[in-house]
């Protein structure tokens, strides 16, 4: 490395459409742009992650891999592109993280090999390098899975080869392979069924697209720090805040369909409407126009009058936005308030089968709820989404159902966050564990405490048998009410009251202090009150609490502690 050679002939900033010969320093700038753009879109890539690609966070892994590559060349003034890409490949190899990171490092490795000892990269060399990159990457696996980053690498190489017939310019080829990469990424669900099922494109492929697009955007002078498609989990979007900001003068929304007499002068149309209201939109189909506008209360009829002057109004609709907002605000009032979590604190995620149970968990301090239970197991992705955006890396999950424990553990594997799954098999166990949460405590201690707390509580469940069977020595006829104590069938009865009382007796509820009943969505409050009265008679010394759990299928979930 010769420091004195570092002079100003190397552009610090490439201006749009200026095509410098691609030597080591130009390529360095391009790679740094790739990293910046990939990092900007990191979350968008992470969100695409689906099973069965247990690859942690694909976006994060690819960023870390590219970061290692950039670190390697950060202080280099190497002008020889062969030598520079070799350093890039070395850095990517050393920093390769996750499956996609390893594949990416192989792509770079092949890419660098093709450029070995060349001073600058022309079109032919770029194609050769892509070719080598693809070959090297494909060699790394016995059975390549198509519909992944490998496929995208293959498709861009094919496009690069074709484009060589039209141009020798590496910048033009780059432009064409960016388009090809995008098309290839969009095609991945056709090749890989799991992607299609999850309704996403391949994360690694998308990451590769961003790497190429980053270079392209830099050349075109486009910004690299604003994500192209902002992806935010719904929970992170502060919907209620946007509602407050309805400005005065937007009281009513008016939508008018009309058929103009003569061709519509659209600029004039917008100009005229701006005097009436805001949020103007105009759509056209089959000669009919639909106009959409927000207006103050006293001008509700003006848009209709105005369009009448232009032609025939076929339909008009007026909606009071104030009322809409108030309705939503009202719903928000009854919505669940979660405990905000600070960085470094422990965030807890609970799976809850019903809205009432969710509310109780929220009041106990959970940071997010995933809906799910016996017959509606949440997906790994849903669990992951619940905690991925939380501003802390210490996460505790309460699955509250034995069928969900494994899913929760799988979600834990998919993130870089430190996730502990407390194997709570029922809602009462989960709540008992929640009681011991100290959000600012030491994770290991808190988890041990929470685990221990689960044995303090007995879980009763009352539901209807869906088939006739004999389990655990109890004969059940389909349609009977059955009671389970800690997951084991203890009683079958023809009525809810006997099944519930029998369950409490089997659980030796008279030796405990508190009985909490969460009643399900299919029992009426009257029915519940009658049963609770008889429980009070039978267990006069115990404190009885009743909560609207809102869960389906289970008439009662009972916590005995």
């Amino acid at each position: 490395m010769d420091i004195e050679e570092q002079d100003n002939t190397v552009p610090k900033q490439l201006y749009p459409n200026q095509k410098y010969p691609v030597d080591g320093q130009v390529f360095k700038t391009l790679i740094e742009s790739s990293l910046t753009w990939l990092r900007t879109n990191q979350q968008a890539v992470n969100i695409l992650n689906v099973f069965p690609v247990p690859d942690g966070d694909t976006g994060t892994n690819m960023v870390l891999t590219m970061q290692a590559a950039c670190d390697e060349i950060a202080n280099s003034s190497e002008r020889n592109i062969g030598k520079l890409t070799r350093m890039v490949a070395h850095g990517a190899l050393m920093g390769a993280r996750g499956n996609s990171g390893v594949i990416l490092s192989q792509l770079w490795r092949g890419f660098a090999r093709a450029l070995d000892n060349f001073e600058v990269m022309n079109g032919q060399l770029l194609v050769d390098a892509l070719h080598q990159g693809r070959n090297t990457a494909y060699k790394g696996v016995v059975r390549p899975v198509e519909g992944t980053i490998l496929t995208v690498a293959k498709d861009i190489t094919a496009e690069a080869e074709i484009s060589l017939a039209d141009t020798q310019d590496p910048y033009d080829i780059l432009e064409r392979i960016v388009v090809a990469a995008d098309a290839s990424v969009q095609k991945t669900p056709e090749l890989l069924a799991v992607l299609k099922e999850a309704g996403v494109v391949d994360a690694g492929g998308k990451g590769l697209f961003y790497i190429l697009e980053g270079m392209f955007r830099y050349i075109k002078g486009l910004p690299l720090d604003v994500a192209s498609d902002a992806v935010l989990p719904i929970s992170a979007m502060k919907l209620e805040n946007t509602l407050d900001s309805i400005e005065p003068g937007q009281d009513f929304e008016v939508v008018v369909d009309f058929h103009p007499n003569k061709e519509l002068n659209i600029p004039q149309f917008y100009e005229d409407l701006q005097h009436i209201g805001t949020s103007i939109q105009l759509g056209e189909g089959d000669g009919i126009y639909r106009m959409h506008i927000h207006v103050p209360a006293d001008r509700v009829y003006d848009p209709i009058q105005y369009t009448k002057s232009l032609g025939i109004v076929t339909k008009a609709a007026i909606e009071n936005l104030r009322v809409q907002v108030e309705n939503i605000e009202h719903e928000h009032g009854s919505s669940i308030q979660f405990t905000p979590v600070e960085p470094g604190q422990i965030a807890t995620i609970a799976v809850a089968p019903g809205p009432g149970i969710a509310r109780v968990f929220a009041s106990l301090g959970v940071s997010a709820i995933v809906e799910g239970g016996q017959t509606m197991n949440p997906s790994t992705q849903e669990i992951l989404n619940a905690f991925d955006h939380l501003p802390t890396d210490q996460v505790v999950i309460l699955p509250n159902n034995k069928n969900i424990i494994l899913t929760a553990k799988a979600a834990a594997q998919l993130t870089v966050k430190h996730v502990t799954v407390i194997p709570s098999r029922s809602v009462p166990q989960g709540m008992a564990a929640m009681m011991r949460l100290i959000a600012s405590g030491e994770v290991e201690e808190v988890v041990t405490d929470m685990n221990a707390a689960m044995s303090d509580v007995e879980t009763g469940e009352v539901t209807t048998a869906t088939r006739s069977v004999e389990i655990d020595g109890v004969n059940v006829t389909e349609g009977q009410i059955i009671s389970l104590l800690n997951g084991k069938l203890v009683i079958a009865s023809d009525n809810l009251k006997d099944a519930t009382l029998g369950l409490l007796k089997k659980a030796h509820a008279d030796h405990f202090e508190l009985i909490t009943l969460f009643y399900g969505s299919d029992v009426s409050r009257m029915e519940v009150d009658a049963i609770v009265d008889s429980i009070r008679k039978k267990f006069p010394k115990q404190e009885i609490e009743v909560q609207d759990g809102g869960q389906p299928h289970y008439h009662f979930i009972i916590s005995i502690e």
Partner: protein, 118 residues
Amino acid sequence: MSNENTPLGRVTISPRAIATIAYQAARQSYGVVGLTSKNLMEGITQVIVKDPTHGIEVKYDDQKISIDIYVIIEYGTRIKSVASSVSNTVKFNVEKALGMPVEEVNVHVRGLRVSNTD
């Protein structure tokens, strides 16, 4: 042998069946270019019979499944990343197929294959 009781009877899953799942998963793992036997003699007999569980050992005792995998990795990849990705892929696929937790997956890198020297 892994057991589960259903209303109709018992379902048993042999370690060999588990090994087949693990084998398929390992072969799809990026960076793995082959599976190999723990020792030479076994290797020779297995090559002859084309075993679909070649290079995989499954131990099962008392609710605990542990899997040992003997792999050959492509030279020039980051071995640590490849190995951790193999163990994740195998663990996930076996757990998905079985619905039972896999306690441990040990990846033994028995060699590297050199396709390109840089």
